[in-house]
Amino acid sequence: MNSTAFAYDAAHLIGATVLMMGFGLLYQRRMAAVIRTYAMQAMALAAAAAWQAHVQNAPHLYATAAIALLFKGIAVPAALQWLVRKLGIHRTVETALGIGPTMTAGVGLVALSIVLVLPVTTNAAALTRESLALAMSVVLLGLLMMITRRNAVTQVVGFMALENGLLLGAVGAKGMPLVVEISIAFSVLVAMTLFGIFFFRIRERFDSLDLAYLESYRGDRQ
C-alpha cells in the first residue's frame, strides 16, 4: 500500500513539474528562454512516461519516454534555437496579451480543468484522476500560449506544449494502447511544422492584426 501511495505521489510530482513548465512558457520574454523551458517540459514528460512505464509495468511506455527525451527534449529545441538564429527573431517574444493577464488567465484555466475533471472522475482510480486534471491544464495552457503569442515559432512551441499535455494524459491512462504510435504521429507533425517554418520562412503567424497584411490577403473583396 505504501509503495502505491509513493507511486501516486511521484507521478503527481512529475505531472506538476510539467504543469509548472507550462506556466514558465507563459512568462518568458526571450525566445531562447522559451525554448529552454519547453525542453525542460519535454524532459519532465519523459520522466513521467518512464515512471508510468515502471509503475504500470508497461514497457512500451519506455519508448514514449525515449521519444520525449531524445526528440522533444533535445532534437527539437536544438532545431528551434538554430531556426530562431537563422530567421533572426531571437530578441523578444511579441505578445498579444500582456504577461500578467496571461498568467491570470492561466490560473483560471487550471482551476477550470480541476473543476471539470475531478467531479466526473469520482469512480476512476486516483492516479488517473489527478493526472487527467494536470494533463488538461497543460493542454489548456498550451492553447492559451498559441492564442497570446504573435510569431510562428512561439505559436508552434505552444502547440508542442499542448501536445505534451496530451501525452501526459495518455501515459497516465492505465493500459491505454497505441500511446507509442500516437507519440510518433505527433513527432512527425512537429517535424513537419519546423520544416515548414524553415522552408517557407514563416516569421509571423498569419492572422495578425497588421492592416497591410489584411489588404494583401483578403483577395476576396470585389
Binding site: 499542448l162 496530451l166 491505454m176
Partner: protein, 497 residues
C-alpha cells in the same frame, strides 16, 4: 455461380483497399514523367475502387484494428469512387497546369504520391475499428492535405496551408484528449487494452460506461473533429485551404475529407447515445449545424473568389448534415446520409468545373468571368446545372435530401425548421446571383484558352467525364433512388439512432 466466383476473386478485399494506395504512394514519387504518373495515379485509384466493390460480396471479419459495417461500407465505396474520378480529372488538370508551367515535374511527383497517401489515410480512418487508429489516420490526412494545399508555393498558398495546419492540428489535439476521455470511460468496464478502444466491442457495453467522462469527452471530440468538418465557428481554415490548393484537392477536401471528419463525430455520437445517461449529443449538433448554415449562407454574398464561394457552400452543407444527424430519428438520419453522398458528388463536380473555368479564364475572380454559356457552352452549362443542383432545386438529389431534412424537422420541431429553411433560401439566392453573372451575359475574354486546348482530346475528355458522371448520378438519385439503396440507407439510419 457468379457470386461464388466473385467471392473467390475478392476474398476479403479490405487489405487491397488499404494496401493499394499505401504501396503506390512511395512508388508514384519515383515515376519521373508526370504523364505516366498522372495515369498511374488514376489506374491505382480505379483498382482501389474495384477492390472496394468487393466489400459488397464478402464482408471481412471485424478485427481489433479494422472493421467494415453497414455504415462505413457506404462511405468507403463513395470515397473510392470520388477518389477515382478526381484522379481522372486531375490527370487532365495537371496536363494544363504543367503546360502553363505553373507546376514543375518534381512537384507533380510529390503531388501524386501525396494524393495516394491521402486516400490511404482516409480509407484507414473510415475502416478503423479503433478510436486511436481513427485519430492517427485523421492526423495523417491533415498532414498530406497540408502538403497538397501548399503545392503552388505562392504566398497565399503557404498562408492558407499554415492556417489550415495550425487550426486543424489544435483540432485534432483536442480530439485526442476527447479520445483519451472516452477510453477512460470505457476502461473500467472493458478492462485495459485494445477492446476499450474498439467500436465493435464498445458499442455492446456502452450502457455501462461512465456517463460524465463520456459527456466531457464528447465536447472535446465535437470541437476537435468539428474543426475538421468545417463547422462554424471553427471553419476559418476551410475557405483558404480550398481556394489556394490545386482544384482536384479542393474537390477531395470538400467531397471526402469533411465527410470523414463527420463520420468520426457520428461514430462517437452513436456511442454516447448507446450509453443513455451521458449528455444528449443531438442539441449540440443541431446548434453547430444551424450556426454553420447561417454563417455560410450570409458569407456567400460577399465572396469575390469563385473557389471560396463554393468552399463556403461546403460549410453550409456540412451544417445541413450535422443538423440532420443532430435531429436524429430514422427520417432525418436518412436525409443526412443521402445528403452526405449527394453533396460529395455534386460539390466535387462543381470544383472540377470551377477548376477548368479558372484555367480558361485565367482568373478566379467572379467579377471577371462572364457569359460562359456563350464562350464555353459545355463548361458554362455544367456550372449552371451544378449550381442549381447544389442550391437544392429539383430534380437533383440534393433537393430530395434537403426536402427530407426540412420536412422531418417540421414534423418534430417546427420552430427549428423555420431558421433552417431561411438559411437555405439565403444561400440559394447568393449562389443563383453569382452563377447568373458568370454563366450569362456578354462573354469576357478567356486568356487561358490556349493552355486549355493544348493537351490532346483524351485529356480534354478526362476533364469533362467526371463532371457529367457525378451530375448524372445525382440526377438519378434525385429522380428515383434505387430500392436496395433505400433499404440500406434506412438500415444505417436506424443504426445511427
Amino acid at each position: 455461380m457468379m457470386a461464388s466466383l466473385a467471392q473467390d476473386a475478392f476474398h476479403d478485399s479490405l487489405p487491397w483497399i488499404l494496401g493499394l494506395p499505401l504501396v503506390s504512394a512511395p512508388l508514384l514519387a519515383l515515376i519521373p514523367s508526370w504523364r505516366v504518373g498522372a495515369w498511374s495515379n488514376a489506374a491505382v485509384s480505379a483498382l482501389t475502387l474495384l477492390a472496394s466493390l468487393g466489400l459488397f460480396f464478402v464482408r471481412p471479419e471485424a478485427g481489433m484494428l479494422l472493421f467494415i459495417d453497414d455504415f462505413n461500407i457506404y462511405l468507403v465505396v463513395l470515397t473510392c469512387f470520388v477518389g477515382f474520378t478526381t484522379a481522372v480529372f486531375s490527370a487532365a488538370y495537371i496536363a494544363r497546369e504543367s503546360h502553363a508551367s505553373r507546376l514543375k515535374p518534381l512537384q507533380l511527383r510529390f503531388y501524386h504520391s501525396m494524393y495516394q497517401a491521402f486516400m490511404f489515410t482516409m480509407l484507414l480512418a473510415l475502416s478503423a475499428n479503433n478510436i486511436g487508429v481513427l485519430w492517427v489516420a485523421v492526423e495523417g490526412a491533415t498532414l498530406t492535405t497540408v502538403m497538397m494545399v501548399s503545392l503552388y508555393r505562392t504566398r497565399a498558398a503557404i498562408e492558407a496551408a499554415w492556417k489550415y495546419f495550425i487550426l486543424c492540428s489544435v483540432g485534432i489535439g483536442l480530439a485526442l484528449f476527447g479520445t483519451l476521455l472516452i477510453y477512460l470511460a470505457a476502461q473500467p468496464v472493458m478492462s485495459d487494452g485494445m477492446a476499450a478502444m474498439a467500436w465493435s466491442k464498445m458499442m455492446l457495453r456502452a450502457a455501462e460506461f461512465q456517463p460524465e467522462l463520456m459527456s466531457l469527452g464528447f465536447v472535446f471530440l465535437l470541437v476537435g473533429y468539428g474543426t475538421k468538418t468545417g463547422l462554424a465557428p471553427m471553419h476559418a481554415w476551410l475557405p483558404d485551404a480550398h481556394a489556394e490548393g490545386p482544384t482536384p484537392i479542393s474537390a477531395v477536401l470538400s467531397g471526402l475529407l469533411l465527410n470523414v471528419a463527420l463520420y468520426a463525430l457520428l461514430r462517437f455520437k452513436m456511442l454516447i447515445s448507446a450509453n443513455g445517461h451521458a449528455l444528449a449529443p443531438g442539441p449540440l449538433l443541431i446548434a453547430l449545424g444551424g450556426l454553420s448554415i447561417f454563417v455560410a449562407a450570409f458569407m456567400l454574398y460577399r465572396r469575390g473568389d469563385i473557389k471560396r464561394l463554393f468552399a463556403y457552400s461546403s460549410i453550409e452543407h456540412m451544417g445541413i448534415m450535422t443538423f440532420a444527424f443532430g435531429m436524429g430519428g430514422p427520417l432525418a438520419n436518412f436525409a443526412g446520409l443521402l445528403h452526405m453522398a449527394m453533396h460529395s458528388l455534386v460539390k466535387s463536380a462543381i470544383f472540377f468545373t470551377v477548376g477548368m473555368i479558372a484555367q480558361s479564364a485565367g482568373t478566379k475572380q467572379i467579377a471577371d468571368i462572364r457569359g460562359l454559356t456563350a464562350s464555353r457552352p459545355l463548361l458554362g452549362w455544367a456550372l449552371v446545372i451544378g449550381v442549381l443542383a447544389i442550391a437544392g432545386l429539383p430534380p437533383m438529389g440534393v433537393f430530395m435530401s434537403e426536402f427530407l431534412v426540412i420536412s422531418s424537422t417540421f414534423a418534430r420541431e417546427p420552430l427549428l425548421a423555420i431558421p433552417v429553411m431561411l438559411g437555405l433560401l439565403v444561400a440559394f439566392g447568393a449562389l443563383i446571383i453569382k452563377m447568373q453573372g458568370m454563366a450569362f451575359g456578354e462573354p469576357s475574354p478567356l486568356p487561358g484558352m490556349e493552355a486549355m486546348s493544348a493537351p490532346g482530346t483524351g485529356a480534354r475528355a478526362a476533364g469533362y467525364l467526371p463532371i457529367f458522371a457525378h451530375l448524372s448520378l445525382a440526377l438519378v438519385a434525385g429522380i428515383m433512388l434505387p430500392g436496395p439503396l433505400v433499404i440500406w440507407f434506412q438500415a444505417v439510419a436506424k443504426m445511427l439512432g
